[in-house]
């Protein structure tokens, strides 16, 4: 068996700007990689994909040199293939289930998906399949709230079934976390624009600057003739730690930090008007993908010393391995088994340091991970002038507050029927991070698709 093809990456020294780091396959690499697929009779890989991409079929089309066909097969199930090929945690999804994963070298499904989608974008400006799959009656309408991966997928599926779909987004640009969270060097925004444009071409009307719960409420949508409402509002509320000094100047939530840079393009200040201030030394609290994104962004904004501060050990870091490696290559330091205690400031409320404490691993806790415990007398000060808090998000509050009758679970997320994804309000469905809590792009898409299917059933227009 030939070894797995390594994707080319921007050399470390060249990663000073916001150019994409992963460079994709060449045609030779793509073919060689696709040829590694064993074309299993009962492929496990596809079962690991929440939208059920027919993986062996698209790989075979690549082997035959028919990339257009491969792209179509991808599109049948996945409306955002260039995005998913870049950001899916393949190692725990499709590739994790690949038969070759047992030997440690699964077929690089994600990289090949990216290859096909990029090829199609460059070569035939492919429009999405429009095969009508449903029997919507003329004038039947559905409303989608939130334009993240869940909302985009649901909107596309409903439009393909013939419904008139309006997608309402609170911000001035569509995409959810794809737009404001994931940085340019991992997911270029012109790719996001392109794939959203394709969904618009299916007939989805995208309405920015509509905050549902404020500009319009759910009952308004029904009275405007929408037969069903899908909520994909995401988990956008940043958590803070409640540390002393957390409101000092120079402390950001990862959301604010990344939104200023991605949505508002502060990295091009003053050409763009929104500023961002990054000091010389930055501490990022947390060790998930969001923390890696914030740390790698800080490096690119000119910080000379960026540290990840995490209270557990390397093995427990929730970020994808690939992102940890990238972060290390870019010179980010890892302060592991380190618990932040207090943000220290000067007389102008400007951050001066982060007081921390060293930890050691004790007995396993409820989550099965070994519980970190403080090492006595181990407090020390990390000298930093900027702190980014990346310790998770909660449910976005606005829609929930304005609909007090919407049933929530114990953590405050929207509760849905596990089969239909309908909330306790008839005709109102929900999926994505607003139901599951912060998860992944592809999980949100899979659930968005499931919700679309049950909306079609609810409206009596499934095929």
């Amino acid at each position: 068996m030939a070894p797995r093809q390594e994707m080319n990456k921007l050399p470390k020294g060249a990663r000073t700007g916001f150019d994409e780091v992963a460079l994709g396959y060449t045609w030779e690499q793509a073919r060689a990689e696709a040829e590694r697929c064993l074309q299993c009779r009962s492929p496990q890989c596809s079962k690991g994909c929440p939208v059920g991409v027919d993986i062996p079929a698209f790989l075979q089309a690549i082997v035959h040199g028919n990339i257009g066909r491969a792209y179509q097969i991808l599109q049948d199930q996945n409306r955002l293939p260039a995005i998913c090929g870049r950001v899916c945690p393949q190692e725990t999804q499709c590739e994790g289930r690949c038969i070759l994963a047992k030997k440690g070298e699964p077929v690089a499904v994600g990289a090949l998906e990216r290859y096909c989608a990029d090829w199609a974008r460059q070569h035939y400006n492919g429009t999405l399949n429009r095969a009508d799959s449903g029997q919507a009656k003329a004038g039947q309408k559905a409303a989608v709230v939130g334009s993240g991966p869940a909302g985009l997928t649901a909107a596309a599926d409903l439009a393909v079934a013939g419904l008139e779909v309006t997608l309402f987004e609170a911000l001035h640009a569509a995409g959810g976390v794809l737009r404001y969270g994931i940085p340019e060097f991992r997911l270029p925004k012109d790719i996001v624009d392109y794939e959203i444009g394709q969904i618009r071409d299916l007939g989805v009307s995208i309405q920015p600057n509509y905050l549902i719960g404020k500009t319009l409420d759910i009952p308004d949508l029904f009275s405007q003739g929408y037969g069903a409402v899908f909520i994909g509002a995401g988990a956008g509320l940043p958590n803070f730690l409640g540390l002393e000094g957390e409101n000092l100047n120079g402390v950001y939530s990862a959301n604010e930090f990344l939104t200023r840079v991605n949505l508002m393009k502060a990295f091009r200040f003053p050409e763009y008007d929104t500023p961002i201030r990054v000091g010389k030394r930055v501490a990022v609290i947390g060790a998930g993908n969001v923390a890696m994104d914030a740390a790698r962004t800080a490096v690119r904004l000119g910080a000379s010393e960026v540290s990840i501060v995490y209270r557990r050990s390397r093995a427990e870091m929730p970020a994808r391995l690939e992102e940890i490696v990238n972060a290390e290559e870019e010179g980010i330091r890892f302060q592991l088994l380190t618990n932040p205690l207090e943000v220290l400031g000067d007389e102008n409320y400007q951050v001066q340091g982060l007081r921390c404490q060293r930890m050691q691993l004790g007995e396993p806790d409820g989550s099965g991970r070994r519980r970190p415990q403080p090492i006595p007398d181990s407090a020390f000060v990390l000298e930093v002038d900027t702190v980014v808090v990346a310790v998770g998000q909660g449910p976005n509050p606005i829609l929930i507050r304005s609909n007090p009758n919407l049933q929530l679970d114990a953590r405050g997320y929207i509760e849905v029927d596990p089969d239909t994804l309908m909330t306790n309000i008839p005709g109102v469905f929900a999926a994505g991070d607003i139901v599951t809590g912060a998860a992944t792009v592809i999980a949100a898409m899979g659930e968005g698709r499931r919700a679309a299917r049950s909306i079609l059933e609810y409206l009596d227009c499934s095929s």
Partner: protein, 275 residues
């Protein structure tokens, strides 16, 4: 989002009537909007200073203090805002309180007006106190007087009304009248002082905070303030808060965070104006 009317109220202070039927239909006193005036522009929060659901319009009053607000003030009738998002924030709860003193400083009268108007309509007695640096900056006085039983003014230079701070007027009113509530909107030091004066007289106070904001939807946390020892997001929990619970010291320190960079941006903007 078309600008239907533009009116210069004072130097650097402009009032716009903007066509925004969706926003106007839902607007209540205390709400604000976030606007962008061009593709590369910032998201700028502005209070809904008046609204007319039938006509489908909202009124904005913008003080040109930095690059974006100055550029906004250069927009003309028939120009349009690129984006108007709203109405945002928690509306101010308009109840029958009895006698309410409305203390406005500088541009604070713009966010004050819709609240005072709604309070007057509910049968409250409005005492209107307004201060500014100088006479020309005392804006919207006619609108306020039309709904107030009593009005008094102060200027820093004595060019109109009492020379001094508007909080001096507040102190006098509170000494002589039975007052049920004080609303104070204006520069932070003025609001902080008004809250203290009200508290000295055992009167509760409401303030409206204008923190830095990015999204205005509860997503970034950049607008956080400490109220009653707890972190609140000004865009979704406010912008109005119980004055005595607000940690003004912290807000005063957070406000200038971007000052150096804003100067750079403004400088560039002026260069562009020249060349």
């Amino acid at each position: 989002m078309n600008i239907l009317r533009k009116e210069v109220l004072a130097q650097d202070i402009v009032r716009f009537a903007v066509a925004a039927p969706q926003v106007a239909a839902k607007a209540e006193p205390g709400h604000f909007v976030i606007v962008r005036h061009k593709e590369m522009g910032e998201r700028i929060p502005l209070t809904i200073a008046d609204f007319d659901a039938e006509a489908g319009t909202i009124t904005l009053v913008c003080h040109g203090i930095g690059r974006s607000t100055r550029e906004i003030n250069e927009l003309n009738e028939a120009d349009a805002f690129l984006d108007v998002l709203g109405p945002l924030g928690e509306p101010y709860p308009v109840r029958h309180e009895g006698t309410v003193v409305c203390v406005s400083g500088g541009l604070g009268v713009a966010p004050m007006y819709p609240k005072a108007k709604a309070l007057a309509a509910k049968g409250n007695k409005i005492i209107h106190l307004q201060g500014a640096q100088r006479k020309e900056l005392l804006i919207m006085t006619q609108e306020m007087e039309a709904i107030s039983e009593q009005s008094a003014y102060s200027t820093d230079d004595g060019s109109l009304g009492r020379r001094g701070f508007v909080t001096d007027l507040l102190r006098e009113v509170l000494a002589g009248e039975d007052v049920d509530e004080v609303i104070a909107i204006g520069p932070l030091p003025m609001m902080a002082a008004a809250v203290d004066v009200a508290a000295e007289h055992g009167v509760s106070s409401v303030v409206s905070l204008n923190t830095l904001m990015v999204d205005g939807t509860g997503m970034c946390g950049g607008c956080r303030v400490t109220v009653d020892g707890q972190t609140k997001f000004c865009c979704v929990d406010g912008p109005a808060f119980d004055g005595s619970a607000v940690d003004f010291k912290e807000i005063l320190k957070r406000q200038p965070f971007y000052r150096d960079m804003e100067r750079k941006s403004l400088h560039r903007c002026r260069l562009e104006e020249v060349g």
